[in-house]
Symmetry: C2
Subunit: 422 residues, 2 copies
């Protein structure tokens, strides 16, 4: 048999098992799901040494195959990171169970009562790279939301992921639930990714996490719906009425708190009326924090330390201690710049003006739109979702951080007393 | 240029215009949208004779090309049907505007307030057959929900659709809104459908309405997400504790009120404990109403008029005065039959038992799950959505009848007071 045939057979088996497990998980009660999560947390702590030993094999192979320092750092597990995974699962156990929640049940003129019931999606296919903690986070969120998950981690983390997934599976069995609600694609054959994203008979949605090229390839080739996350080109706009001290603190935080993350600011827009005062003030603070500023010609004239931005800068996700800065004439110009250059992830206005803030909230079409807040808050934990399984820059189903609710859907329920259509 | 090149160019133009219109419609206020809907209703009434004359050309061409009687009936417009479209638009004007609705805005420990704002999806691609009233309904719903729509009706209805779409476009302009929020693909070149479903640069979602083969082809070839509606194999389950008079009335209504619709019952399941009494009673009523019953061996033994069902019957959407009937031993067997054979559209339990009803609501995984109601109520109007743009048998984004809410999505909004991450 060819590699492709083996991949197809293997995915068929995983798919069938996942579908059967999803049917059982859909009906699992909240108590059993929480028990499984807590047992899994305990299991991770007890198996800590074995998990770190498995991770050492991945690290060794990673060093030999020449992974860079950043990749190796994302791959590495230590006691603190294993404890972090365990605590993450315990936090998910604390969250309210979304499954079965009934909302908006109300009477219609015909006499029937119509409402929504929240239900699991079914089978989630999760494709990700390097970080082994995603194995625990994704499995935990899928478990709590009553779904089955097929996990396809990076081949560089195969030993670590295997050790972590084993803990989750044992915990499910010990809690009397279906082990196959969490399955790891325990094979580094690349053809398996292709099979997983085309398995629309078994898989209800694919959530990829990784670099842009991986996600674009998956979106192009998938037959299963994809909840995807492309770039995070986030903007902060400092309005004419902004509290400039607040604006400076937010700009520095949004850019420099962590530079390699998708909710970091890449472009700072400044209203012309405050530019003369604010640009030198914020550039000094940013430089002091270690940032390089590339600006429009007007801003360069206000501060000699600003490098001249090229056209490409306005469309660049630096993921680094670099930002672009543009002076705009008014709110309209800021909104127009965002409409043209933002990636639909997160934008924030800094303003004390009611009308400007209201317009920004309404008119900016991004997954998260903020007022007087650092873009760094666009995060499942900060939004109260617990862990997040991903961040969506799509428009359908779910936008922004995806937690338990994004892993569910709603069916209609109708209660009657013998009503018939006439 | 080849037909494909012309199709590509045409769709690029429509797509760019739709995208620009969507950006404007997203910000349109409720009053202007309602004005446009009411003006369009008036326009349809004033242009009634021209619309019926345009329809006569389609009817003539349809007769010449040999459309069957059912197709011709769906295609035909008369004064009453034009008035129906006008009233439909007025009803949409009466519905609450979902755009801008803020929900669940609440404080987080960090001090920020986090909530959701409902926003339009963007550009909707609508692909449908024969019925010209879909042109008005779909345009009206997309307009009210702040979207732009590209309508691709059947070539057999091109003159009718052109006349109707012209009314909508004039009404938009008269209300001061973007005409291109409603665009009709005014060309019967089939390559245009292929271009529309691959235009992911411009189109955010495709909603197809039509036969199964059309929808499957679109789902297979689309690059744009599709909200699709496949079969309606709907079940009614008569439990051991059912009020049998109610059960009989619902069974007859669910099957015979209209047989050619997706929410008609195709299979009746009867608990063994009541079969001896109920089967002869319901079969007599169904036969009197004109239905043919195909049953399992146990049911055939109870009533000689029942034909023997084949295996294929349990998976058949008859869309006709035929139903299949099976006696099941208990609720578990009923739920198992539904899990295996239902299409995920609508199922109803007839029962006076609290636990049985609760289990059915929770465990049956269909877009609409009902208790003591005819399946015929699975309908946007009955659910209070106003008109419906389609019915989804998908799992993501929206299930069941799709109205204004299904044409929107939610972004996060975050209100702060200068919060930064530490």
């Amino acid at each position: 048999m060819t590699t492709e045939h083996i991949a197809k057979d293997m995915m068929q088996m995983l798919g069938r098992q996942a579908k059967a497990a999803a049917a059982a998980m859909r009906m699992a009660d909240t108590g059993s799901k929480n028990t499984a999560l807590k047992l899994a947390a305990g299991m991770l702590r007890r198996e800590q040494d074995e998990i770190i030993a498995a991770n050492a094999k991945d690290m060794q192979a990673g060093r030999e195959s020449g992974l860079d320092a950043a990749m190796l750092d994302r791959l590495a597990l230590n006691e603190q990171r294993v404890e972090g995974m365990a605590e993450g699962l315990e936090q998910i156990a604390q969250l309210a169970d979304p499954v079965g929640e009934i909302s908006n049940l109300s009477y219609r003129p015909s006499g029937i009562q119509v409402g929504h019931m929240r239900v699991p999606i079914g089978v989630i296919g999760m494709i990700y790279e390097s970080r082994p903690n995603v194995t625990a986070d994704a499995a935990g969120l899928c478990l709590k939301s009553g779904n089955a998950v097929i996990l396809r981690g990076g081949s560089e983390a195969i030993y670590s992921n295997r050790a972590i997934a084993a803990c989750l599976r044992r915990a499910l069995a010990d809690a009397g639930l279906e082990q196959n609600a969490v399955q790891l694609v325990d094979n580094t054959n690349r053809a398996l990714v292709g099979e997983l994203i085309r398995a629309d008979e078994f898989v209800d949605v694919i959530i990829p996490r990784g670099g842009r090229s991986l996600i674009e390839r998956i979106a192009n080739e998938a037959r299963v719906p994809v909840i995807k996350h492309l770039d995070g080109i986030c903007h902060v706009y400092v309005d004419a009425t902004a509290d400039l001290t607040m604006a400076k603190a937010i700009a520095v935080n949004a850019k420099m708190h962590r530079t390699g993350v998708c909710n970091a600011m890449e472009t700072l827009l400044v209203h012309a009326a405050v530019a003369e005062v604010f640009v030198p003030m914020v550039v000094a603070a940013l430089r002091e924090a270690g940032a390089t500023v590339r600006g429009c010609p007007r801003s360069c004239a206000l501060d000699k330390s600003i490098e001249v931005a090229s056209d490409a800068d306005w469309d660049t996700e630096y993921l680094d201690a670099i930002l672009s800065l543009r002076i705009v004439d008014d709110l309209d110009a800021a909104i127009a710049h965002i409409a043209r250059h933002a990636s639909g992830h997160t934008e924030s206005i800094i303003s004390e003006d009611y009308s400007a803030g209201q317009r920004f909230l309404r008119e900016v079409d991004s997954a998260s739109v903020m007022w007087n807040v650092s873009t760094r808050f666009a995060d499942g934990f900060e939004y109260g979702l617990g862990a997040e399984i991903g961040i969506s820059t799509d428009r359908l189903h779910v936008r922004g951080p995806v937690g338990l609710q994004g892993l569910t859907t709603q069916k209609w329920i109708v209660l009657g007393h013998g009503e018939i259509r006439t």
